[in-house]
Symmetry: C2
Subunit: 397 residues, 2 copies
């Protein structure tokens, strides 16, 4: 099996989450993604969490399936090799702020006129930004939890979205270049990803049109019925119903359909409407809570699985890894692989299935010689000379 | 200006967030995206929030720039028209569970052998799932906030990521088809998006290799320095430093560099290491908190903007829309547009810039006649006959 992006070559000069995740996503689809780092690694090489060996579990997780090249990027020769690799590949993915230097679009297109350059920035107007500061600006932390004290998300959702926007934009640009010969520079501001998404979900219009600022709703689902419930054995589950079919499934599976139907009369709302269920949510939850509180998670699972009810247990990361078969090699998404510096780890392929099997992250710089030979046609003697001059690392990774 | 996906035609049969956002993202890049709905709309047509007219702000925000066709999909004739549109376009994007019926891959490829079918499911093993239940399973809600009581995210981050994965997968599949003639069915399980992302960020390996389950850290940043701070005027700001450069910028901009340097000695850690700063985070925050508490947001902005410090104010959705110039037409991302059923709203283009101007969502069914004429070549008489037979709506939207 080959991936759909077989034959596509991309140079990545990156750090942290968004751009590396973008490159990894392309590699998982079969592209040859060559990440170039300075000798010793970029500033994300030691990002926590770490394995006992000191190898970053974060870096290895975000760079699976790539090739790794390290160069003395603080030297003209190192930058020249990087420039040649970019010119040869014709596609550059980066989040580094080198727009004015050797890695500027103008400089690079002098060498490769139809270059596609995907560039992630902080804000559209040149400000710096990371997931944490972007998230603070876009309303979600204030609307999270029970009160207006902001609560940060733990998932770097804007980085994840930005990484996937970069993939989409890169493939769109490459499609155009194939048809027209035209390359181009595409810029993606992390903060624009967040503002656009808030608007795409209706939050901006709700303020503009209704003057409504979504308040914190705890774990309630907005505009329909949904909430978390405690179980008899100290677990919690999330329950939700958006469509009428999902709503009726709850009544049927719990045997509480008649009681739930009475809530419509009690509360004067139409329970066949998601807004009616939202208005009556406290009363609905009061009827359902004892059902969950008197059953163990296993009993709840037996009653609800296959019933059409939308529900699921909350799990911490440990429960997810140790107890959930969907987060194991029983799911075609995952395989155990040997990750250099780390050992045996459960690694996902692309969730776009069927997918290529997962591959480990490279050792830092581990593909340098092979890439310089294959992509640039450098001779062993030339490579040795660069190494002697300190342009290439002697030992790395 | 034309978008990079000019000439690409996609049929979308969808509801809610992920698949509609995927189709919209492609439309923003210039693709012709035709969303087919049952007459009267799919189950997301009335999803909250609503405009005073009753038009869904959510539906209009998630379907910008598409064409809308409505058909009596409960009739053989309606399904035949839909099938013809799918066969003609050659690409179908869907999250509806019709895998066994007329919209199955096997049935559709009998009409269009090189069809590309992008299908979003709940779980990989056939279970149903939505963002809320998926999120509960993957550890983040338990790790959010100050204690282990789970806190749901408000952003449907898994839906957003899934929508963008669908775009990436669709363009990758279309690239392959262009080169090899080979179509295919690509399945994306919403829960796999979440499990894969948790693994891609190192959470799975941290449990497997270190036995470490990331605990709730409130608003602290993990493994480096970052936290929220209260200002003199009752606002809160997020402050972060991951790299050494960002860390030194904080000391310089606040004038507290000398005091902060002493913390390394006091706490016996190396503050030139992100792990050292994480270990000493309480002491660092204790030094910084009074600096923020004695300054207004405006004073903090004056001191920190342009300093290289990573920071930003928390804003609720109202403050974001009313006070933040980056969420306004001053940002090239946004334009005021006239949205039928809603009025003037601020609409984003694609954050991949430069971008096509934002376009409003269609009226439900508003493009039916034009699409049937242009794509299928149906005559006005034929269309009128379908309308007479109830296969097409008389009035809609």
């Amino acid at each position: 099996m080959t991936g759909p992006l077989e034959g596509l070559r991309v140079i990545e000069v990156s750090a942290f989450v968004a751009a590396p995740m973008g490159g990894m996503t392309l590699a998982q689809l079969g592209a040859e993604v060559i990440r170039i780092d300075p000798i010793g690694g970029n500033i994300d090489i030691g990002r926590w969490p770490l394995a006992p060996s000191g190898t970053s579990l974060y870096w290895t997780a975000l760079n699976k399936g790539k090739r790794s090249v390290t160069l003395a990027l603080n030297t003209p020769e190192g930058r020249e090799i990087a420039t040649s690799l970019i010119a040869e590949a014709g596609i550059l993915l980066t989040n580094l702020p080198a727009a004015e230097g050797w890695m500027s679009y103008a400089t690079l297109t002098a060498r490769r006129p139809d270059l596609i350059m995907m560039r992630l920035t902080g804000t559209h107007d040149g400000g710096n930004a990371i997931d944490y500061t972007v998230n603070a600006a876009v309303g979600f932390p204030v609307a999270t939890g029970e009160d207006e004290r902001p609560i940060n998300h733990v998932l770097p959702a804007w980085d994840v979205a930005a990484g996937l926007y970069l993939c989409t934009g890169l493939l769109a640009a490459e499609r155009r270049r194939t048809r027209t010969g035209q390359g181009g520079e595409v810029t993606l501001a992390l903060s624009d990803v967040a503002y656009a998404t808030a608007a795409n979900l209706g939050y901006v219009a709700d303020v503009q049109v209704n003057g409504a600022v979504r308040p914190p709703l705890g774990n309630w689902l907005y505009g329909a019925f949904g909430r978390d419930f405690a179980t008899k054995d100290g677990r919690r589950v999330m329950l939700a119903a958006i469509s009428n079919r999902q709503w009726r499934a709850i009544g049927k599976a719990t045997g509480l359909a008649e009681k739930l139907a009475l809530i419509g009369q009690v509360m004067d709302v139409d329970l066949d409407d998601e807004g009616g269920r939202y208005a009556a949510r406290e009363a609905i939850a009061a009827v359902l809570a004892p059902w969950f509180a008197t059953r163990t998670l296993a009993e709840i699972r037996a009653a609800l699985d296959g019933s059409g009810v939308l529900w699921g247990p909350y799990q911490d990361f440990g429960q997810m890894v140790r107890e959930d078969p969907r987060c194991s090699a029983a799911n075609p998404l995952f395989q155990q692989i040997e990750q250099p510096g780390v050992g045996q780890v459960l690694a996902p392929s692309s969730p776009l299935q069927p997918a290529l099997p997962p591959r480990p992250a490279p050792r830092l710089g581990g593909d340098t010689d092979a890439v310089l030979a294959q992509v640039l046609g450098l001779s062993p003697a030339r490579i040795a000379a660069y190494r002697e001059a300190g342009i290439l690392a002697h030992h790395e990774g």
